[in-house]
Each structure stands twice: as C-alpha cells, then as structure tokens.
Amino acid sequence: MATTIKVNGVDRTVDVDGDTPLLWVLRDVLGMTGTKFGCGMALCGACTVHVDGVAIRSCITPIDSVGSSAITTIEAIGATAAGAKVQKAWLDREVVQCGYCQSGQIMSASALLASNPHPSDSDIDAAMSGNICRCGTYVRIREAIKQAAQTTGQGG
C-alpha cells in the first residue's frame, strides 16, 4: 500500500504495510539513518523524531497513523531555532561520547525548548528521562540544555 508522508518538508511515498513503524521507513526505506534504533518499545528514545513539533518515538509509530503531519528528523532539526541552539550547546559542552543516542537526545531537547524556552530542572527531567544514554552523558545534557535555554532567552 503506497503511503505518502512529509519528512523534513518533502513528500515521500513508500510502499510498505500500514503498521510498519516510521523508524524503519526512515532508516531502511528512505535511507535517513540519523534516527536510531535502540529498543523497538519506546523505552529508550533513540528513535525520537518530531511530528508537528511534538517529540514521538518512531519505533512504535505506525506509518499509517502519521497522515499529513510534518515529520522532522535529526537531519533537519538544525534548521529550527531551538534545534540549532541545542546542537551548538551539545558541541560547546562536549556532551557526546559514542553518540548513538544523541540524535534522540537532541530531538527531545529541541522539542522541550521549542515549547518551553526556560525549563526548570524538573521540566528537563520530565522531557529527557525517556532517553537513555548508556555512556551516561546526563550531567552534560542537563548543562547543554541550560546553555541552549539561555541563548534562546537572549535571541529567541
């Protein structure tokens, strides 16, 4: 069954079962491998993308549930104001180690800052605790979100 989805502003038509998770459409059908597979059960957040600006787990999101919503992935998040600031903060603070989970971390953090430019520590906990980092970069993730929030306050 052909399904058309809008990924990073571009309409893409794929021929897969309607219950195929968005993650595999992105990675294996469209070749957009920045979005990662971690668990397949929405437990780790590695597969996080935005649907209409909201962070969702693409590993449990059937392709036929997406409709005409705008999907944004790590490959394009830098084009958003929040995403660009998060990416810069991630580099400034040297957050990344193995890096495998960081696509998902950045997507969750970007969604947080886009909707809440000045998150409290508990806001950060709530938004980020669904994203596992096995390298344990949590100290710097928190610092980087705070840095990005400061720059958000100064420049929008």
Binding site: V29, G31, G40, L43, E94, C98, Y100, S129, N131, G136
Partner: protein
C-alpha cells in the same frame, strides 16, 4: 580534521601499510608514500609469539603517520572510537611532537592487521579495551611524531643549506627564523622520505607541552549531532537487505522445526534462513523482518542447559571457593597472623551476570561472494572480526575485507566477534549484501556476560582494630583464558585478579587465591572495568567493614594504611576535602568512600546517597579525585569519569541477568534498566597534577563508584550489602 573517508580508506591504508613493513631492527623507518609523500611506520619491539608475527619481522609496525605531497596529514588510528575520546587523545600525542594543529590532521581507522596494529598491552591482539590506548601509545606515538618532525627539519635545512638547529617547527611548517623562510610539511614530504631515520630523538619536556594537558575539543563529534555519523548499523551497500534473527533461547540449543508459512507471506519478507541454532528473516526493511520473525513458529531443542538457573551457578562457585585456588599474591604469613588476631571478620560477596546493553544493538552487514567476503561492522577488535568471517566462509584472510565504523557503545561487547560469525553464517545463504540487526531482545538475551563472581574473604584485626591478616579467595570465569590463552598461566590471568591484589593498603599478611570456574550454558566476556568491576567492590566494601568493626572513620582508617602509597593518599585526601567528608547530612543520607589503583590510575570517590523509607536508593552527588598521571585531555578525563560513574550506578542499582530454564529472563530496557537522567547524580571530578606516565581512564570510574554507593548505604542505614544489585527490600525502614 575530517573523518569523511573513514571506512573507504581501510583497504588503501592496509595496502600502503603492508608495503612499508620495514627493517627488522629499526623502530622507525621512512618510506615513500604514494604520491611522493613521507610515510613513517612505527614499530614496537614486541614479540607477539605467534606464527603470524614470526614470519618476517622481529619488530612489527603498529601505527602510521602519513604526510602526503599535497600537505594532507593522515593519522591512522590503531584504536577505535567508541565514545571514550581516543580519536582525540591519540592524535594529541602525535600532534604534540609533530608540531601540527589538530585541525590539520585527518584520521583513518586502521585496517585489520595484527602485525601492524596489535595492541602491545593486550598481547598483540588488535583490540581496544582495558583502558590502555593512551598507555600503549604514550611513548611510541610521541616518538613517531618527534621522529617525523626531526626528518622534516633535516629536509628543510638541506634545502636552505642551514644548520638544522637554526630551524624550528610550528603548525605544520618548518621555519628558519634568521631568514624568515618557511616550508609547509607537504612541500618537504618527498625529501624527508629519503632521509635516514634518526635514532633517539628527543621528546619534549612536559613543561613544554602545548597540546597535551589542554582540554582539546573532540574530533569526532560534529557528525554525531546532526545525524551524519555512520555507525555499523547505518551502512547501506547498494541492494542491501535487512535481516533479523531468533537464536536458540537456551545457549547450546538447536532448531527442531520451523513453520515459516505465515512469515513468508509478510509484505517485504524475502527469505527465511534456517541455521542449526538460529533462524533469520531477510526482508526489504527491518519492520518487515521483525514482523516476519514474530510470525515464525519455531520449536527448539533446548539441549543440555534446559534447566540451568543462576542459583545453581552460584552454588557451583560457592563450592569452588571451599578448595584451594591458584595463588595470585602472598605476602607474609596469613595463617599465623590470623591465629594471633584479636578480631576476625568474614564475609561472602557476590556479583551478578551483567549484559552490556550498548545503545547500538549488535549488527553486522556482510556480502559473501564466491571469491570474497565484505564485512561492515563497528568492532573493538577488527582483526578478530576478519578472522571470524574467514573461518565461517572458509576464505583466506586476504579475501575478507572489513570496513570498521564508529561504535555505538562498546564496553567490551564489541571485542567479541560472535555477531560477525553469525551474520556471515546468514549471509552465506543470501544473494547480495545483508545487514543483520539484532532486536534489543536478542541483543540482551544473547550477549556474552560479565561473569558472576563469588568471593569468600576474611581478615584479622589487631587490638587497635587494624588489619594484620587479609585472606581472599574468589571464583568465576576467566575471560582471558578464552580470549587470550597465552596470558592465562598457572591458573591465573592479569584481569581476573586486578583490584584484588597489589592493593594500595599496607597489609603485612595477605593471601589471595583465584579459582577459575567456567559455568556451563552462559558465555562470558569483558565488561567495562573488567576484573576490577568485582574485585574493587569486594575489597573496598570489606575494608569498610573492617573500619566499622574497628569503630573508626572509613576515610581515616584507609588513610592510616597508605603511608607507602602517597598518590593513593593524595586522591583520598582530595576527595574527602572536596566532598566535605565529616560534614553533617540529613536523616536518611549517607556518605561512602572507595579508593583504588587499577588501570594504572589512582582514584577515590565519595558518594552521597539517600535511602528512602521504602528502601529506594538515590545517589545525589559523587566527588571523584583522580591521579591518572599526565592528563592528556582533561575534559575527556572528566567526561569518562562522569560516564563511568553512571555505568557503575546502573549496575549497582539495576544490573542483573538471571536465567530460568536456561533462558535469560531480561529482554529490554523495562527489565534491564539503565540509569536515566532524572536519577543521575551530580558528578564532580578533581584531577591531580602529575607528570607520571598516563594511566587508563575509560573504566576506572565504574569499579570505583559501586562500593562508594554501598558504603554510603551502610553509613545511612547500618546495612551492609554484600550482593549486587542493591535490593531495596533489604533497606526498608523498620
């Protein structure tokens, strides 16, 4: 710096490297690289002692600097990047002495070739592990850089007809100050390649370091924040199919029957591959492969381990510690000292099997052709991966091309090549390239696990409560005996005992024995902080028990035993000062300390822990003092300690793999939990200034944190935990 050609360069690098296996008697020798450049191969006086090394060279090349005629400076990395920062620290060592800026260098993964890239601290295996990349590289890679720089200066001085001593180097150029002349390194590469290799080049004094000791920015991160970094799981050779698999849920079991009718009908499923002990579904994408896998009806013959459980293994280890083992260390006379002791303390400690649970699930992409095999993988041990593929295909090594990739978490898991072998077994049945991706469930249930360890330990105290006898006997699996058999001698290996012997404390009578036991039905492997992951837990918990028995402060008690190990005393003092040791804490809180010397690094940690009335444990703050010798990249050291602390707390609070009817019971992150951001403590790292040679940093923080946490729980509750993971039920108030 660029990483753009990482995988594609591997074959070329191998060819140029092979072409430059040079003199048997020189450490360093120049050769002309393709395009008229300077290629400096580095040899180590390392006798590997196997047939591969014995054929030609007594001295085997190990790493490379390549300066091309176009000015490109290429460093071939013998160690793999898995988040630990080796792709920054290793270039820093070379660049410091070569006098180039990090931004000027390009990095390549080394190809599989143990003769060239064997790790001298891992018995010549081409592997990244045991926190020793910087340790192994510290002297030879700085010498490589200095030798190259000396030759480039000589080439310039000849062209200018001046004294080499009047030249200096800076940022990839040779400068002649009196005349203001300068050459870029690339312009000198062809000439430098013809200059005899100097002996005994002088290395910089530590006070002259410009790069080493500075918090250099990581070289591998840009592509990791925008989705462009390519891990093994991301490769997409043209026409690649995606496969996922079910392996016998009991180790050693076999496939009895497969009904694949429904699976074959799933849209996108192309093929079912049946092996002796596994079934794979090959499909257009992972979604179809997983759906097909779920539709398979597989009957298994569980084989000999069908009833295995962990209590049976623990009982086997318990029994083994009742008989003598191999003596790992003996000081004085424990027997008579124990007999004279005023107080005797005895304890049994146990730690569980643990999975690695790397965020990137196991995967490997393979294309088997009649005349060759191509493998794409992220491996900590590339030559092992190549050998595994050669064995399964029956092809000679030189027909197996392995492309290494960034690693989405290693922690020891990707030192093993079981996944490569499995993927090649499947790929032999597939026409064209196939990417085999483990589901998280398969990844956790078919890991190779940190061993279960059982420790029986006792001590005798004198009238002042100080230890006069220390007797420790422990049993568990030896990874070294399987992975590197020549390093297992007389019942001992250097990993299983690290952290249990050569303690920082002055113990006049000490006796430590190791009993190797290989439990059936569950494979074991290296796991971040390896032997010390259990030995430091036991040792640092037990010394804490002795302090409590003696009714002494845990820091003061340890400190009294450190007169002969001043670096250990210094990190303990620093951690205690920074943590506010002795300051009052709220009810329900406790501070715990641990101290270790493992991976050639001294470390002390103090954990501040809260235990709720329901027994829940929360680690709020960790203070770490570390003396790892010269800190090559201080920011990476901080990052590694922050990381290792989270890894250790994960194990202490949550980590346990159990077996029921021979099957691993845990399957995904709901029942094999990883510490999350809302549970993460603040971590403070204090680095001691040092000019000693560097120690390892990737793992030390993991072994150190675990007893700091359990000792803090003791301080908060009076309850001593001798078995991991921490059981909140034991900590409930009342």
């Amino acid at each position: 710096m660029s990483l753009d050609s990482l995988s594609s360069q591997a074959v070329c690098a191998e060819q140029s490297a092979e072409a430059n296996i040079l003199s048997r008697r020189t450490f360093l020798k120049a050769g002309a690289a393709g395009g008229g450049g300077l290629l400096l191969s580095l040899s180590l006086p390392f006798a590997k002692g196997d047939a591969a090394a014995a054929d030609a060279d007594g001295f085997v090349p190990n790493a490379f600097i390549r300066i091309e005629g176009n000015g490109q400076i290429v460093l071939t990395m013998p160690y793999v990047e898995m988040g630990q920062g080796t792709y920054t620290a290793i270039p820093m060592l070379i660049a410091e002495e070569l006098e180039v800026d990090l931004i000027q260098v390009r990095l390549e993964h080394a190809p599989p070739n143990e003769r060239l890239y064997g790790n001298p601290l891992l018995g010549g295996v081409q592997a990244t592990g045991n926190s020793n990349a910087v340790r192994a590289s510290w002297q030879p890679l700085r010498e490589a850089g200095a030798t190259a720089r000396t030759m480039l200066i000589s080439a310039a001085a000849r062209r200018w007809n001046v004294d080499p001593a009047s030249c200096r180097t800076q940022s990839g150029e040779v400068l002649h100050a009196p005349t203001g002349k300068r050459f870029k390194y690339g312009e000198l590469a062809a000439d430098a390649a013809r200059i005899p290799v100097p002996n005994n080049v002088a290395l910089k004094r530590p006070q002259d370091f410009k790069l080493i000791g500075t918090p250099a920015k990581r070289l591998d991160t840009a592509g990791k924040v925008n989705g462009t970094a390519v891990y093994g799981i991301d490769v997409r050779p043209p026409g690649v199919k995606i496969a996922t698999l079910a392996q016998s849920p009991v180790f050693g079991g076999r496939v009895k029957s497969v009904d694949d009718a429904v699976a074959k009908a799933v849209k996108g499923v192309r093929q079912i591959v049946r092996l002796d002990d596994a079934v794979a579904v090959v499909a257009d994408h992972m979604g179809a492969a997983k759906k097909g896998l779920a539709a398979l009806k597989i009957e298994w013959d569980d084989g000999p381990h069908a009833r295995l459980d962990v209590p049976a293994i623990a009982a086997q280890l318990d029994k083994a510690t009742l008989n003598p083992g191999a003596v790992a260390q003996n000081i004085g006379d424990v027997g008579s000292a124990m007999a004279r002791a005023v107080t005797k303390v005895e304890a049994i400690y146990q730690v569980p099997f643990l999975a690695h649970a790397t965020m990137e699930p196991m995967n490997c992409t393979v294309h088997v052709r009649n005349d060759g095999c191509e493998v794409w993988v992220g491996s900590q041990a590339l030559a092992r991966a190549q050998a595994a593929a050669a064995k399964v295909t029956g092809l000679p090594l030189d027909k197996v091309v392995v492309h290494n990739h960034l690693i989405g978490g290693g922690f020891g898991r990707r030192l093993e090549s079981d996944g490569v072998a499995r993927a090649v077994e499947i790929a032999k049945h597939v026409d064209g390239p196939v990417k085999v991706v483990w589901t998280r469930e398969e990844d956790i249930q078919h890991d190779m696990y940190r061993p279960y360890w059982f420790d029986r330990i006792s001590a005798g105290l004198d009238a002042n409560g100080m230890p006069v006898a220390w007797n420790n006997r422990f049993a568990g699996s030896s990874i070294i005996a399987r992975y590197l058999p020549p390093a297992f001698n007389n019942g001992l290996d250097p990993d299983s005992t690290e952290g249990a012997i050569d303690l920082v404390y002055a113990l006049p009578n000490l006796h430590v024995e190791y009993v190797r036991v290989e439990p059936p039905g569950i494979p074991t492997a290296f796991w971040r902080s390896v032997g010390p992951s259990h030995n430091v837990f036991v040792t640092e918990s037990f010394i804490d028990e002795l302090a409590a028995t003696a009714k002494q402060d845990p820091v003061a008690y340890r400190r009294a035993l450190l007169d002969k190990t001043p670096r250990a005393k210094a990190v303990l003092d620093l951690a205690a000062e920074k943590a506010g040791w002795g300051q009052p804490l709220a009810r329900g809180f406790g501070r715990g300390v641990s101290l270790q010397f493992v991976f050639a690094t001294y470390m002390a940690q103090i954990a501040e822990v809260e235990v709720s009335r329901d027994g829940a444990v929360r680690v709020h703050r960790v203070v770490c003092a570390v003396d790892c010798g010269i800190p090559v990249n201080p920011d990476t050291i901080r990052a590694q300690i922050q990381s290792a602390v989270m890894f250790g707390i994960t194990a202490a609070l949550h980590g346990e793999i159990t077996l029921k009817d021979g099957r691993v019971e845990q399957s995904n992150f709901h029942d094999y939990q990883i510490l999350r951001l809302n549970e993460a403590p603040a971590v403070e790292v204090h680095i001691v200034e040092s000019r000693e040679a560097p120690g390892g940093m990737g793992e030390a923080g993991t072994s150190c944190i675990v007893p700091a946490v359990t000792n803090a729980i003791f301080a908060a509750t009076g309850k001593r935990l001798r078995k991991l993971p921490i059981d909140p039920a034991q900590l409930k108030a009342g």
